[in-house]
């Protein structure tokens, strides 16, 4: 009994120490910490690792310029391992344990949704660099990727006008981005007078690798005597087998063009693009863009990665813009305190890589040009259309019944992410 008693005591002590061991030692820092929250392992590593490297490069560049507010920047890299709960956990860790001034990260919508409450609870700053479905605006998140109106709708317009497309296949991976985008496009197309029998919607699971009959269906759908195009919101991994099947079944861009929103230079790097020449993608940046800033960026990137074949892509530019906006806002505010930065960053405008300026809007989305490019044999895109001006990211789509009345404006006094212009109240469409 006594023995048991002792071991109990021992265990108790052990437990205490364990608990104490967790307690993070709070220490003053002479550097500004920047969190990088991108998956380095698991299914999303394929896309996100690159963004981690970009951030490291940007921070290195900034430090060469003397850092921010006279302090050096210190990157804090963690690996959420493509595991969504882990994203939230790591976000919390970055904000509470490492006390980072801002976090650059996330790729998938689910990862963003997972960390969102954490950033709002702990009042952190997240810069999200990937095109997404919209329908969200948070005080603590800055969306530097494209909203649907900065990518999908212009692309559809291009096909309808320049290619005279009358029949549409909306093919996507079965998750929220394609679902929402397709909903928006469906409404938009119908508003343009496209009949519903001329729209075919198809969803496939993640990492779908056997595209034989879907591609065949597309062919079939395309043989109704009207010009047909495929609008692809197929997610990263599944694209390679999809395009390989397209190429093999001989669907040429001249016959049935495919316009993709998630296929960039990185994805093409894994495919033999000869059979795909002419298929399209809509982005806000292409590596092939011929500007001084871009050339410089590409050079830095290739020297940083010690690989002169390394490509650049749209989300990388988004991080480039987002990071510079943050730096500018911090310097404007003279502090990294989140509230100050949130106030100062709205209206900040920095050069993008496509020869213009992008500005942070009150809805925490940014202005971007929309480019349509055609795939070339060398795996690059040839810009075939560019919007004359900049397009403002529209967080609440006008083509979804429940969100068309909503707007977001994070400036005082409104400071609301879902203000309803109809009811004049903050907080959704009410009832």
């Amino acid at each position: 009994m006594l023995k048991t008693g002792r071991s109990l005591a021992a265990a108790a002590g052990l437990a205490l120490c364990a608990a104490a061991g967790f307690a993070a030692p709070a220490s003053a820092q002479d550097t500004i910490k920047v969190g990088i929250l991108h998956s380095l392992s698991g299914t999303m590593a394929i896309s996100e690792t690159t963004l981690k490297d970009v951030m490291l490069m940007l921070i290195e560049e900034q430090n060469k310029k003397g850092g921010v507010l006279g302090k050096k920047l210190e990157p804090v890299v963690v690996d959420p391992a493509s595991n969504w709960p882990l994203f939230a956990e790591k976000a919390r860790e970055l904000l509470t344990k490492d006390k980072v001034a801002a976090v650059f990260g996330c790729w998938t919508s689910v990862s963003r949704k997972s960390v969102l409450p954490v950033f709002e609870e702990l009042n952190g700053l997240l810069f999200y660099p990937v095109q997404y479905e919209g329908e969200e605006s948070s005080r603590n998140v800055f969306y530097t990727g494209a909203a649907p109106n900065q990518q999908a709708i212009p692309a559809v317009d291009y096909l309808a006008e320049k290619e005279g497309v009358k029949r549409w296949v909306l093919a996507g991976t079965d998750y929220v981005y394609p679902r929402t985008t397709n909903k928006i496009l469906e409404t938009y197309l119908k508003s343009k007078g496209v009949k519903s029998e001329d729209i075919m919607i198809n969803y496939t699971p993640f990492g779908h690798s056997d595209w034989q009959n879907i591609v065949a269906d597309v062919k079939k759908f395309g043989s109704a005597g009207k010009k047909t195009a495929v609008v692809s919101t197929i997610n990263g991994d599944a694209n390679v087998p999809f395009y390989k099947e397209l190429g093999n079944q001989g669907i040429k861009a001249q016959d049935i063009p495919v316009v993709a929103f998630s296929v960039g230079e990185e994805e093409l790097a894994g495919i033999d693009t000869k059979p795909l020449v002419g298929h399209l993608a809509a982005w806000n940046y292409f590596q092939s863009i011929d500007t001084a800033e871009n050339a410089d960026f590409i050079k830095k990137w290739q020297t940083f990665t010690k690989n002169d074949k390394r490509v650049t892509n749209d989300p990388m530019e988004a991080h480039y813009i987002g990071f510079n906006m943050w730096v500018k806002a911090v310097e404007k505010a003279g502090t990294t305190a989140p509230d100050a930065v949130i106030d100062s960053i709205v209206g900040v405008s920095v050069p993008n890589l496509t020869g213009g300026y992008s500005a942070m809007m009150p809805n925490h989305h940014i202005t971007k040009p929309v480019l349509i490019g055609e795939v070339q044999e060398n795996g690059q895109f040839e810009t075939v259309s560019k919007t004359p001006g900049l397009v403002v990211g529209d967080e609440w789509s006008d083509f979804l019944p429940d969100s068309k009345d909503l707007i977001a404006d994070w400036r005082a006094p409104m400071s609301c992410g879902n203000f309803n212009v109809k009811t004049g109240k903050c907080g959704g469409k009410g009832s």
Binding site: T49, A216, A269
Partner: protein, 533 residues
């Protein structure tokens, strides 16, 4: 006789070329000015001349070699030479010396331009001496349905002797007629021609005709559509069967290595997927070598990759067996844990070496593209994978049944102690068997690299399916694996059209669960006392 004539004609044109060149020049020059639309207009004009001298110009435009010399705005063909470009005149082909790359600007083309280009080339090359080219020309016209090409078609048809080309031209003509304002009688004839052709492209045209055209044409067209669609529906079933077969063969390839390591040796090899992945990366490396040293022989790269992949994966397999698995025989579960750990490490290793992004594995010419078999579209890539899968299966079967090594394997797996008592070096046999299984997985990797991502996650996509196949077929029975793979493949493909891809897969899984209830030891189970022992 006709042939001779056409040859003469061709020769004549060839000789005549320079004479026309002069008046073509401004048209060619116009290609280089303004937007895509302007280029397209210029191209149209160029095509209308019907002058074959324009062909090389248009071809240059198609291949993206046509440039504008910034200095004087002249349109030239610029091909890479050294670190500059060599300029030639698009019409005469006369050399215009070298220039810096920045001195010329490429004339960009987009999809609609590409369409007009192939249309123009079609119209212009109908008279080409080479039947192959004439055939392509006819098909191009068939696609473009360019009314202006009608004349050229008729002249060409009058001269055409080659039956195949003739048919192609007739169909092209029919397509054009339907697109034109020709009298209904001609259109009805055209409809019949297309009905005879009876494929998807024909269907597209017929549909268009049914939507436009007079009442009579409409009626005929609709009847034609009905018959064509019926025909295609029949072929559709066959097509589905083919899809099932090809998916099945992919599953077979993925699973067959596992049938050895897991089925025969009883090692729950969670790293099997990574063996496949290694095979795929081996393919990538081999192709890199070919790209750098022998681009000409690229078509052979896959063949070279096969043994390389087999050895690479096999070697890794042997290493794993010697270092880890050997300690775990008779503890299948522990093998599950250890190999799971290994698969994590292998993935990360590949990620650190090759980077996390996809690597490009190209398809050799003999594996790309597709051919029509009646109403079936069969892609060469898939076809070869099916063939390859069965070859591998047969080879393995022979290896296990007929060779001394196979005998040893079976001896060891059936009664280890007895085998060693009979002087079989069990340790060596174990290592080689595991190596064999892994090597086969490597071969699968070569095939899969043709249809899927070559990324560190490649294996993960197949590991579960592989286990399903092996267990469904009955552990330890190769035939079971074969039947299992093909069965699951075709079931999946038959469900997909009705249930959709996701639901289809779910149903297949449920089917497996229920099936195992009926036959707790898989399709080809051992019966009798041996089971309980």
């Amino acid at each position: 006789m006709h042939r001779v004539l056409s040859w003469l004609l061709a020769a004549l044109i060839a000789v005549a070329t320079p004479a026309f060149a002069a008046d073509l020049d401004p048209l060619v020059r116009a290609l280089g000015t303004g937007t895509y639309a302007d280029t397209e207009k210029a191209l149209a004009k160029l095509a209308e001349t019907g002058d074959t001298a324009a062909v090389p110009v248009i071809e240059a435009l198609q291949t993206g070699d046509l440039h504008v010399r910034k200095a004087d705005g002249a349109v030239v063909v610029a091909r890479k030479a050294g670190n500059g470009v060599a300029l030639t005149d698009p019409l005469t082909g006369a050399a215009l010396g070298e220039a810096d790359r920045s001195a010329v600007e490429k004339i960009k083309i987009n999809n609609s331009l590409r369409r007009s280009i192939s249309a123009a080339l079609g119209a212009l090359t109908l008279m080409s001496p080479n039947p192959q080219t004439r055939r392509q020309a006819a098909d191009a016209v068939f696609k473009s349905r360019d009314v202006n090409a009608l004349e050229a078609l008729d002249t060409a048809l009058a001269k055409e002797t080659d039956e195949g080309v003739r048919r192609a031209m007739f169909q092209a003509r029919a397509a054009v007629v339907l697109n034109s304002s020709a009298p209904d009688a001609d259109k009805i004839a055209a409809v019949e021609t297309l009905k005879a052709r009876g494929d998807r492209d024909a269907l597209a045209l017929l549909n268009a005709a049914a939507n436009s055209g007079g009442a009579e044409v409409k009626a005929v067209a609709e009847r034609a559509i009905a018959s064509v669609e019926q025909r295609l529906a029949l072929w559709g079933a066959a097509q589905n069967l083919w899809y099932g077969l090809s998916l099945g063969s992919v599953l077979l390839l993925a699973a067959i290595g596992l049938a050895v390591t897991f089925g025969v040796m009883g090692v729950i090899n969670m790293a099997h997927g990574e063996m496949v992945m290694i095979g795929a990366y081996a393919t990538f490396l081999v192709q890199e070598v070919f790209r750098t040293f022998a681009p000409g022989l690229f078509d052979l790269s896959i063949l070279v990759a096969l043994p390389v992949a087999f050895l690479a994966s096999g070697a890794v397999g042997v290493a794993i067996e010697r270092s880890v698995i050997r300690w775990l025989y008779g503890r299948p579960l522990e093998t599950l844990l250890a190999t799971w750990g290994l698969s994590l490490a292998l993935q990360q290793a590949v990620r650190s070496i090759f980077g996390p992004t996809n690597r490009e594995v190209g398809a050799p010419s003999w594996m790309s593209g597709a051919f029509e078999l009646g109403g079936l579209t069969i892609t060469y890539g898939r076809l070869w994978i099916v063939v390859f899968a069965f070859l591998v299966f047969a080879a393995l079967l022979v290896a296990l049944r007929k060779t001394a090594f196979g005998l040893n394997i079976r001896a060891v797996t059936q009664n280890r102690s007895m085998a060693s008592a009979m002087g079989i070096r069990t340790a060596r046999v174990d290592a080689l068997t595991f190596g064999l299984g892994s090597g086969i997985a490597g071969l699968a990797g070569v095939a899969l690299s043709q249809i899927d991502n070559v990324s560190p996650n490649l294996g993960q996509g197949y590991i579960i399916d592989s286990f399903m196949v092996v267990v469904f077929g009955g552990v330890g029975n190769l035939w079971g694996t074969l039947v299992g793979a093909l069965a699951l493949g075709s079931v999946n493909k038959f469900l997909e059209p009705y249930a959709g891809a996701v639901l289809g897969k779910i149903l297949v899984l449920i089917f497996i669960i229920l099936f195992i209830q009926r036959r707790p030891r898989g399709l080809f189970a051992l019966k009798g006392r041996a089971v309980e022992a």
